[in-house]
Symmetry: C2
Subunit: 751 residues, 2 copies
Amino acid sequence: MPYVGVGMQQRGSSLRSQRMMRAYTALLVGVLVSLFIVGLGKMQADKGVPLPRQESIEEIQDQIGRALQEAIQGENIKANLRALTKEPHQAGTKANERVAKTIEKMYKDAGLQKVHTLTYDVLLSYPDWDRPNTVSIVNRNGRAVFTSKGVSQPILPDEQGAPHAGHQWLAYSAPGRVDGDVVYAHSGTPNDFERLKKLGIDVTGKIAMMRYGEGFRGDKVAEAQAHGARAAILFSDPAESVWMPPEGVQRGSIMKLNGDPLSPLYPAKPGAYKSRTIDEIKADRIIPSIPALPISYETAYQILSRLNGRPVPGEWQGNVNVTYRLGPGLRDGFKTVVDVKSSLETRHIHNVVGYIPGQDEEDRYVILGNHFDAWVYGSIDPNSGTAILAEVARAMVETTKNTTWKPARSIMFAAWDAEEYGLLGSTEFVEEFVQQLGGRAVAYLNMDCFAGNYSLNVNTIPSMRDVAIDVAKRIPNHIEDQVHLGRKTLYDTWARAFPGKDDQPDMQIPGGGSDHAGFLTFAGVPVIDFNMVNATRNSYPLYHTLFETPFLNEHLYDKPDFAMHRTIGRYWAELARTLADSPVLPINVTRIAQEMGSNYVVQLKKALNSLPANPNLLEAKQQVDFLEKAAGKFLVRAQSFVEHARHVRDALPENPYDQRKLRGVNERIMMTERCFVNPRGAPGAPQNRHVLYSISEKDSYTGKVMAAVYDAIDDYVDATDKKKAGRKVAEQISIIYHSVHCATNTLKHFF
Amino acid sequence: MPYVGVGMQQRGSSLRSQRMMRAYTALLVGVLVSLFIVGLGKMQADKGVPLPRQESIEEIQDQIGRALQEAIQGENIKANLRALTKEPHQAGTKANERVAKTIEKMYKDAGLQKVHTLTYDVLLSYPDWDRPNTVSIVNRNGRAVFTSKGVSQPILPDEQGAPHAGHQWLAYSAPGRVDGDVVYAHSGTPNDFERLKKLGIDVTGKIAMMRYGEGFRGDKVAEAQAHGARAAILFSDPAESVWMPPEGVQRGSIMKLNGDPLSPLYPAKPGAYKSRTIDEIKADRIIPSIPALPISYETAYQILSRLNGRPVPGEWQGNVNVTYRLGPGLRDGFKTVVDVKSSLETRHIHNVVGYIPGQDEEDRYVILGNHFDAWVYGSIDPNSGTAILAEVARAMVETTKNTTWKPARSIMFAAWDAEEYGLLGSTEFVEEFVQQLGGRAVAYLNMDCFAGNYSLNVNTIPSMRDVAIDVAKRIPNHIEDQVHLGRKTLYDTWARAFPGKDDQPDMQIPGGGSDHAGFLTFAGVPVIDFNMVNATRNSYPLYHTLFETPFLNEHLYDKPDFAMHRTIGRYWAELARTLADSPVLPINVTRIAQEMGSNYVVQLKKALNSLPANPNLLEAKQQVDFLEKAAGKFLVRAQSFVEHARHVRDALPENPYDQRKLRGVNERIMMTERCFVNPRGAPGAPQNRHVLYSISEKDSYTGKVMAAVYDAIDDYVDATDKKKAGRKVAEQISIIYHSVHCATNTLKHFF
């Protein structure tokens, strides 16, 4: 069933009738005009043929949907992927510029319009390609008894053999040679360092050795630095590294901010002013002041097997086959030497964009995006996504040629640069166009990479959950075993794989791990971030390694026909088509109100009530009551708005001047979400503007609800001046209240 | 000629033709449907009658304009004024609540829809009505040789005789009794205090006595406090007080912030959280910590004639008939005692609003506003405006009944409360609805009061200058002498009275003196603030005194038929109609680009080049070059946009689906202005969000261009760390650059 929901209510079959037809009539001018001409011709040629049945609009929608899905070809995705992964292509390199050109050509060949690049000058970081980073173990005489190669060896030399491809490094590491004693700090979380302290281990002046897994690597290095470490080592413990060869290394960025760190909040346009200096961002711990490097578990073994000290607590033991010890230092007085060569450089990055202009509302955009820069070849992260998106573009344009369809709203395709360094390309874009996105962007649909073959996974906000589900129900299942079990659609497997509450699959609030972050947390644009995942929904095998090359996609992740890559493309395309064509936007404002009243307020009350009773919390508690009442009013208003929207939609064909009313209805839907943007951002984090959904300061991979409120509560717990701290809690709750009140006002016609 | 300009270019008569007709056709559905029905009926009844001439649309517009102007009646304004000024009505009092009810009834009787009040709880200030504030002079024995009455006596007891009407006080004065020595500080400006220092007079511990005139009274008291004064006296020197009786006193507020000081940036909804305390706002000098009171020149004479010290510098001498001396203190060891009783109270205030819903775009608002609270009876300030606005409302609704006209966009009427205390009613409104205003408000038209009978005066921003002129040309002159001189329109007198550059009357950037301030500086809504003024454009006679009662309007300011009040009403109505009906909004985006490139950038270059050459200024100068280039691009884009807008308008009748395109064009026009809102505000002044036009920190009556940039330049001049200060200048310029770039992007279709 094609999607036309207002507020996504389940609708009876009685609606598959004239009302629906009338609603569609207004928007699908192209379709209709063509149809009627064809119909008229037929009628005149053959008077006996009856008029088309009223259900035909639905059928046409179905037809278009099917045509679009059929147009997406696995073989094309496969070819795209090969074309995109010929060489390693880190952001800011010539190789990555060549990839940008390839994408530009793909977009133009596909028939997208206004294809062009948007350039920014941002701070990037590189190793010294001629002198690999190393970790050495030296004896008392200063002689090295072990030195890591610093370069992983290819397994498939044809695909993985480019010079320097195996280089092991972390972006934004400080350069330096540190000679000292290792302490094993487990996953490098604040709790881990707290525990070390309790275990009597002082990290000051030491080299902190930490495992990947559990949180963002940049947080680990920052935590180590904060505890006085002079260098940091990260290794891929076999416990959390499926398929990883002994020499494999996870690369990545350790910057703790999204976007160009030297031009926060504003776009790093070439030549534009940089409000911050490198010294300042180091002082603010946005990038570390200590060297950090990633090592393989083969190299880690060399250190772990020599570590001094007591054995680690049971749950800190990993899967390298030695007894892990705390340190500090190695047996026999051996020292560890970390030697990192790196440089910070401001370079050009290039986002590639292209459009299918909307025929009714050219200035409303449904944006599909994925990045294209990679740590090495990037055949999974990100070019599985890049390859799929280019094919979606091609198939969509093809469908506009082979059918009467043209999207009512514009569909924008975006290939972002420098995501790996800290979402730079998309963040600068959002900073540059924040006002236009605020007023014109319907939704942003992110698919970073094809990260597993178990099930669809969707991260989104409450208002978008229904459309995410509705569209998944229209996509045939590509997993044959599942089809045999009666799970015919992408939805069926998803619902079974990750069951959630309210009879919906479990959908998490999108975190900071990919390019949707700026759209949601800075501009307040509704986002859906989705992909195929494995059963644990954790990172996929061989993440950020040399071994991410097309062989992996073709033989280990998917079948040679790319059936699963194709399915993801179909979901992406159908989501976009639904958001572009629905007369009333399928963004469910009542869900925001429901979630606020029955979930967020309830959680917040619990959190406050769990604190020791204190008169300084009374104001905060009053504000929660206030917020609860406001949420109730918002819900009532949202429900009556949904009725109004339906009324406007149904009345459309009777008065074409109501087109502007329909636009008004959709404007209100869009603006309701924007009420949750606090233009001043969270205290101390002006880039975190979404008051409901922002990135956790402590783990930038994780989305957090009402982070500023809970941060204020945490601060209250630790505060000595409880009066002041209690007022800060109340203030943060009142900011949510004002947002909810704004949402209610947005749905009204008059002030 | 009715106004339909895109970009306000002068247009030849060739355009008064089919193209114009087609443009109008689309919007004026009501008019047209009626016309065609009538026309059709006529044609059918009498086949010989020709089709209406194509010029008829213009004629209808003219007809409607004339009908609307004729409908506005001086007698009604006069009656309204009497009804509104029966008793003194300060904000927060029962009397003012009665005035709100009167306005609500006027609006309802007029036929406005959705008439209701919006309530806020704000910090106000009152005297002790039973114990007047006094200033006394005591001899060495502590015996009073003079004590002011503290209450002015009525001249027209019938109009001015309410109990406590004559009370002399300043809102937000601290209470207290201060016994000390007076220093004469002239106008209380920073320069005046600087000069006093040079003259060897230390204000610390003294009572600062200052004249009204030259700046905002709150700044004077704050300056006195900053220089150590323990109390402040303000007096109306006859030199700047036309018609003032010896006992007359100017009341007013001395708060240095707009809006409720306890809930900055957010609306003071009843029960909502107050983020600031009274102690905090005193510490931040938003309200003074010292007592302050206003005195008459009769009372001032008592002090001036006894002052010790040297005669004041020549230009400091006023028109009280004694030689002004500097002080400190009085002859014969006499002391001055200032005794102020006052209290701060949080009370309800009530804005009254009502609507004429737009028939095509109900959710686009042209807002007409004026406040209704007064210091005493307020027959000039503000109820001359209130009375006119209620009549405009009545006449507009009447016109919708007597003609086929209905406005295409909604027209909103607003009566603001508590303007006198610091624009509280309008500021809280703007804070509450900032998002809706940002997206939906076309313009805000403010007329505070009828302050003179010499000429129209308009304060506005560049994009609104043309429409302000165009409409003034359509309003007949009410000043007979002027008509005899051939100046037939309001425009003719205005252009002659206040000639400006570019062959336009002189229009200043709106300052902070009335309710438009929040709309422009916080929400970025284009505003026109206008009124009738005297030849100097200074404050009007008897400002904020007991003597502002209807007799003044009826016999001294205007003629008994209220011809001039009526003219202002006509201008207001015609401005509103033009903004509500023009298919393409008459907001001239090219003017912003021109002003930027040929004025602001030039001034800024001059300012930077006038500083001693310094390498720390290089970045700032680079940013100006950058800004200049951006302004050039903006201009080119604006010009092509105007072409595009014309094209969309002309194509309208051919495709009703283009209605949404027209809305898109107008959305872009509106959003261009919003690009100049910095959501984070100026450094240290988050409420000053307009990067081009904000209120000067030093004189809140005056509008200032790019205040944050010039403040940074001032700071640079004083700075010891020139490197850091130079960077701050560059940063502020780059923020303007980003705004200009945003404006260019807003006029584009795609990113």
